[in-house]
């Protein structure tokens, strides 16, 4: 391609561009990764306190809850759907975990309580999945309704007071203990989940069908795949991640905070999209999602360390997101994928 030609690029509609581009997923993360490196390097140079083992662990810890949500959201977005309920859904799962595990309520043994908390997330996913796949409610609306309902329910069930896990010994260790020295367990859990999610998305039927449904639902159905039932399973899977995030959150705060959660869904979705998963479905990358989540956490952490006033932090994060996604598009266009 000559320089002359580059300037002559006709104005192709970008949405189609995005739709048209594809290719081995491994390439997609490259730029998000590049952005992460650049941001990291910048902060490291700008402030000596940034690049310490401790702070890196901090960043990963900060990324782990949103990141876990984002893993689940990756599956939903791969189908061409969206999940707005993960933020308040996570909170509801925290509350339910407290209900199951604390002495003030049911007081089941901790592992059982935790498992039921995760299962409750899957239940939220089931409701979303049925609403989307069986009742035909568009995912945006189905999960928006669930977002509001979960917010309300979390408050109702907890009576709008934080529920503490003081009666559940060791619960705080789930997120904050360190099986690996100096690395909080939440980080380990997040990374293990990420590996699992990567395998599930790339190598199992549920992942494959999520991508197929996102790419062409009708064709998938005509190949004899029961898209309705798979869609439900995919939402259940996404919900399970929400449940795990809820437990991690509760463990980290050693309490269920019922008013929390609104806004986390957008952060999770942003992480997914920065990571190269297409909102129109059919294309998804877990590695990208992880990088996206870490990028966002790094930005917040670094800007705070630099003591940038909070209002400017917001502007900076907004602009970095735009630049990262734009640069990713440019790179893909260069590679002739557009």
């Amino acid at each position: 391609m000559t320089a002359a030609e580059q300037t002559q690029l006709p104005d192709e509609p970008p949405q189609t561009r995005e739709r048209r581009s594809a290719g081995p997923v491994s390439l997609h993360q490259f730029l998000a990764f590049g952005a992460l490196i650049v941001v990291f390097a910048f902060f490291a140079v700008a402030n000596g306190n940034f690049l310490t083992m401790n702070n890196v662990a901090n960043i990963l810890l900060a990324a782990s809850v949103t990141g876990t949500l984002a893993l689940g959201v990756t599956f939903i977005i791969a189908t061409g759907g969206i999940d707005l309920s993960v933020g308040t859904g996570m909170t509801l799962c925290s509350v339910m975990t407290a209900v199951f595990a604390t002495q003030e309520f049911i007081g089941l043994p901790m592992p059982v309580g935790v498992l039921l908390g995760v299962a409750f997330g899957a239940l939220i996913g089931l409701v979303n999945g049925v609403n989307v796949a069986v009742l035909g409610i568009p995912p945006f609306i189905a999960t928006l309704g669930m977002m509001m309902a979960a917010n309300g329910l979390a408050l109702v069930i907890s009576d709008a007071t934080p529920l503490y896990f003081t009666s559940v010994p060791g619960f705080g260790q789930i997120a904050l203990g360190s099986i690996i020295p100096r690395i909080p367990n939440a980080v380990v859990i997040f990374l293990v989940l990420a590996v699992i999610a990567g395998v599930v998305l790339g190598k199992t039927l549920i992942g494959r069908y999520a991508l197929s449904i996102g790419s062409n639902e009708e064709a998938t159905r005509m190949s004899g795949v029961n898209t309705r039932s798979w869609l439900i399973r995919i939402y259940v899977l996404g919900g399970a991640f929400t449940g795990i995030a809820g437990v991690m959150m509760a463990s980290r705060l050693n309490s269920a905070q019922p008013a929390l959660g609104v806004g986390y869904e957008l952060e999770a979705i942003a992480a997914v999209v920065i990571g190269g998963t297409s909102l129109s479905g059919g294309r998804g990358s877990i590695l990208g999602t992880i990088i996206g989540a870490i990028l966002m956490a790094t930005l917040n952490n670094g800007l705070q360390i630099l003591a940038v006033p909070q209002e400017w932090q917001k502007v900076a994060v907004g602009v970095v997101i735009l630049v990262a996604v734009f640069a990713d598009n440019v790179r893909r266009r260069r590679e002739g994928r557009l």
């Binding site: 503490y164 003081t166 705060l253 705070q304 630099l306 909070q310």
Partner: protein
């Protein structure tokens, strides 16, 4: 436009104008324990005084519009008095004027309204309370070193007063300085992450202060996760199980609490008095307390703390 309720046949549950005095309360929130405790106090007062009350508040303390909308809607229920905790007192003037025009008494609570419409103001002096927090910070740090603030929000009146009362008192100290003020929206997790970043950036920090319950919990978590409880002075605001535990554990040195139960209680009490045409105090100070490991079990203090 009073006397609107025509009974509406079957239901009839709404109006009930004649018998019970009805107090509509519009607070600054409902999702947090502080407001729930205000609600509790108000409910108790209403029950004791034989009044009916409703309690609503916006989703966040920056949503002025939602709050005014709720106030407007509350008027449709034909209240006999209104309790109102203005997020922005100036923006509420038009609707307060309308309420005043209808002859409905307004009791301001939590923070005042800069107008003579409210018959009474039931509140805590947040600025003074924050200044007291600063005094304790000065004491704990022996009057020297850097301190930081994690606040819930930078635009609401309480947010501003609790920040400024603290910051301005600290800045009067020659050897002390507020190196960073960050805002976490009252979200515990976000406040935790912010605290950790602040500690990371300022390894020599001497003290840190959280402006409300969520922020304070976040500060405690951050300090705990960074293992800095030993060398840091940690001060919180409001109460709740999390802060009480943190004080018992020795992570938090102490906190300022208002008396949300009393705020709610006195608001309704004052409103009912106003409905009955009784004379009411122009201001009712519900006070604030410094509490720490030493005085937490004192009767007077324990009553003001909620779990």
């Amino acid at each position: 436009d009073d006397g609107g309720g025509e009974g509406a046949g079957a239901g009839g549950g709404g109006g009930g104008d004649g018998e019970q005095p009805y107090v509509a309360i519009i607070s600054k929130g409902f999702q947090h324990q502080f407001w729930q405790t205000v609600n509790q106090g108000a409910e108790d007062a209403a029950e004791e005084l034989g009044a009916r009350m409703t309690f609503d508040g916006p989703d966040t303390e920056s949503d002025v519009e939602q709050q005014l909308q709720q106030l407007q809607t509350a008027l449709s229920g034909n209240p006999d008095a209104v309790g109102f905790a203005a997020l922005d007192s100036e923006a509420s003037i038009p609707i307060l004027t309308q309420i005043d025009g209808q002859g409905i008494p307004v009791v301001a609570f939590d923070s005042g309204v800069e107008s003579d419409i409210p018959v009474s103001t039931v509140s805590t002096d947040n600025y003074a309370a924050a200044a007291e927090a600063a005094e304790h910070m000065i004491e704990l740090t022996d009057g020297s070193g850097d301190v930081a603030v994690v606040c819930h929000d930078q635009t609401s009146l309480t947010g501003i007063q609790r920040r400024d009362g603290f910051v301005e008192t600290i800045e009067e100290q020659p050897d002390m300085q507020v190196v960073d003020v960050q805002y976490g929206g009252g979200d515990q997790l976000q406040s935790t992450n912010i605290t950790k970043s602040i500690l990371q950036a300022n390894p020599d920090l001497a003290g840190i202060y959280g402006c409300n319950e969520g922020s304070a919990i976040g500060v405690v978590n951050g300090v705990r996760e960074q293992n800095r409880a030993e060398d840091l002075a940690v001060i919180g605001f409001d109460s709740g199980q999390g802060q009480i535990d943190a004080i018992n554990e020795g992570i938090m040195d102490g906190a300022i609490t208002q008396d949300p139960y009393q705020i709610g209680y006195q608001t309704v009490e004052t409103a009912v008095a106003a409905i009955n045409g009784e004379e009411v105090e122009e201001t009712v100070d519900t006070g604030y307390f410094w509490y720490d490991a030493d005085n937490m079990d004192d009767d007077e203090i324990a009553r003001a703390l909620y779990e």
